[in-house]
């Protein structure tokens, strides 16, 4: 039993790789908080307060990208509406945060401010239970998962494929966005949910809370990564690759593509929901603009930039693009969209395997031997 698990762990990563993961995780999860909470305010070593939630946000987005890579890079399913699951997770936690404001809001009422504003007298049934953290956290995972299960079942069963599927996911996210925009739906309308104050009793404005959320995001990303790695290195992962390349053939071999696709699709949705749930308290707001179709497409570019089908690539890609976004929208706001657009075009045209993979190929051992190395790697199993 232990031997089997040890074998699985060895399958996932070599010793060297595991050590690397440990080091990086240490830096992210331990070093950063220390450098934020430890040094005095003026010290050059200090990581400033506003950077912590920003990094935390990046980690959540990286988890989202990971979720997409799982289904796109390995199962070949390009979902352009993954923000649906992200937002559902986010809204779930947002509802908890709204309720935990209690009567400290503008209107000093037990009801969230926006409901008072709309002249509602009581809490809608959809909000029941969200005053408890565990319930909200559970919903943040279950609701996206359930939606994914239902949607995936119908979509995969009808064998809608490729581009058609991607367009349908866009329609789904668009529909949800429209739904959320309405005040009647009861989730804050176009203003969304915001003005959060506390989580689990801790003030959201405290530095320690922010650090805790950051660490939680890091742990979620680590966990998500390990789960995904486990899946793709297992036989299931290989079935997925087979389904991606030749679905009909896999059917002949006695596998039900529907079940496998549904599994990763749902897993992916749950991870996205988790990412959303951790994102919202750090960003302080969730509104329907998160569901805009363009947001869903952007995730694909993060994955493509990093290199799809590598998991690590998705994480790196998300970090690079979002980091660039933070820097550029502050410095050259008008040009950010040019950069993003150009990135889309250049990466898909010239670096279809992803910037990261190409860069790694070139850097290791020089250009020509790098090419040989790549070819060898591609020819042999990992």
């Amino acid at each position: 039993m232990v031997a089997a698990w040890r074998e699985r762990l060895a399958n996932m990563h070599s010793r060297l790789e595991w050590s690397l993961i440990l080091v990086i995780a240490g830096a992210v999860l331990v070093l950063v908080p220390i450098l934020n909470l430890g040094p005095p305010p003026q010290s050059p070593l200090r990581i400033s307060d506003h950077l912590v939630p920003l990094f935390g946000k990046f980690l959540c987005l990286a988890l989202l990208a990971l979720a997409l890579d799982l289904i796109w890079g390995y199962a070949g399913i390009l979902s352009l509406g993954h923000t649906v699951f992200f937002a559902l997770g986010g809204y779930a936690l947002g509802m908890y945060l709204m309720r935990s404001i209690g009567d400290a809001g503008v209107y000093r009422s037990a009801l969230p401010d926006f409901m008072v504003f709309l002249d509602w007298k009581e809490l809608p049934w959809t909000w029941r239970g969200f005053d408890r953290f565990w319930f909200a956290a559970l919903m943040a995972l279950v609701v996206p998962g359930a939606l994914a299960l239902a949607f995936g079942f119908f979509a995969f069963r009808s064998r809608s494929r490729g581009v058609y599927f991607s367009i349908i996911t866009q329609a789904l996210t668009y529909a949800l966005m429209l739904l959320m925009f309405r005040n009647d739906t009861g989730f804050g309308g176009n203003n969304g949910l915001t003005d959060f104050k506390r989580i689990l009793g801790f003030s959201l404005h405290e530095e320690t809370t922010k650090v805790a959320l950051y660490v939680a995001s890091g742990l979620a990303l680590l966990l998500g990564y390990l789960v995904c790695r486990f899946v793709v290195t297992s036989r299931l992962g290989r079935v997925l690759v087979a389904i991606r390349d030749r679905e009909e053939r896999v059917r002949f071999l006695g596998y039900s593509p529907l079940r496998f696709k549904l599994f990763v699709w749902t897993l992916s949705a749950v991870l996205a929901g988790l990412a959303g749930a951790l994102y919202v308290p750090q960003v302080g707001i969730i509104n329907p603009s998160e569901l805009h179709p363009s947001a869903g497409i952007e995730i694909a570019i993060w994955v493509a930039v990093g290199g799809r089908g590598t998991l690590i690539g998705a994480i790196v890609g998300a970090l690079i693009v979002n980091g660039a976004k933070s820097v550029l929208t502050a410095a050259y706001p008008e040009y950010w969209l040019y950069f993003l657009g150009a990135l889309f075009v250049i990466v898909t045209r010239y670096f279809p395997r992803g910037l990261l993979v190409s860069a790694v190929g070139w850097l290791t051992a020089g250009f020509s031997s790098g090419k040989r190395w790549l070819a060898l790697r591609r020819g042999m199993a990992r």
Partner: protein, 248 residues
């Protein structure tokens, strides 16, 4: 011989938009036999295989898998495959991105379910079967190589191996030697020959040389019906067959 037939294609008709691919076709396959199906293009050979494996539903007739007395036309492709009827396609349809061994694992593993493939390792028995298959098809050296990089003939064998590893009772092999070199053809003939007896092997081919090396009984299809059946020499000298292949 009183053994019941392994597979019985019973009066099957298939038409596509007015064109009759199979016309009241009836065939019997004995257990353990190695049968060759030949016929000009459009005779219905591939369609026949499609019907047996469940890819195409016949307009009328049935296909009886006699050991279990099951009518295959009522089953799904996956169910038919699970019963032990395997098919090797004309063009190799192996999975290029996976290694040779992984291809075989895919075909030869016990569990086909999500939980199984996620958690359960291959049982020792299955592992052995896969190693065996590797030997039979002669790809032991290449087992860690990406399947897409194999030579054409090797790909064909891999595909055959994937079939073998599922331990099928009936093997339907569609043009196994298309595009092969002479040596590869010879190897393939040996391979197929070694399979009969334990399994029923049905081979569809065009290459007459190859057929002559392996066949005992040959069936000629024409326009969706059986034109002639018997040992190779007999069939080859049948005037109707000659006309159909060469004639007006």
């Amino acid at each position: 011989m009183t053994t019941s037939p392994m597979l019985w294609v019973d009066d099957v008709t298939v038409s596509f938009e007015g064109y009759k691919a199979l016309d009241h076709l009836t065939l019997l396959f004995e257990p353990g036999e190695l049968r060759c199906i030949i016929g000009p293009n459009g005779a219905g050979k591939t369609t026949m295989m499609d019907v047996i494996t469940g890819k195409t539903r016949p307009d009328s007739g049935r296909v009886v898998f006699t050991r279990e007395q099951i009518d295959l036309t009522e089953l799904s492709e996956e169910a038919i495959s699970a019963l032990g009827i395997g098919r090797k396609f004309q063009r190799p349809t192996i999975f290029d991105e996976l290694t040779v061994r992984e291809n075989l694992e895919l075909a030869g593993s016990d569990g086909r379910g999500v939980g199984n493939t996620l958690f359960a390792p291959l049982s020792a028995g299955r592992r052995d079967a896969i190693d065996q298959a590797l030997e039979t098809i002669g790809l032991v050296e290449e087992r860690r190589r990406r399947a897409g990089l194999l030579a054409h003939g090797q790909k064909q064998w891999l595909e055959l191996g994937m079939l073998l590893v599922q331990d099928p009772k009936v093997l339907l092999v569609d043009e196994p030697v298309a595009g092969m070199t002479h040596e590869e053809i010879a190897r393939t003939a040996e391979l197929l020959d070694s399979l009969k007896g334990e399994r029923t092997v049905v081979v569809v081919e065009h290459d007459m040389e190859f057929i002559r090396t392996i066949a005992h009984k040959v069936t000629v299809l024409h326009e969706g019906r059986v034109l002639a059946e018997g040992p190779m020499d007999q069939v080859q000298s049948n005037p109707a067959v000659i006309e159909v292949y060469l004639g007006a």
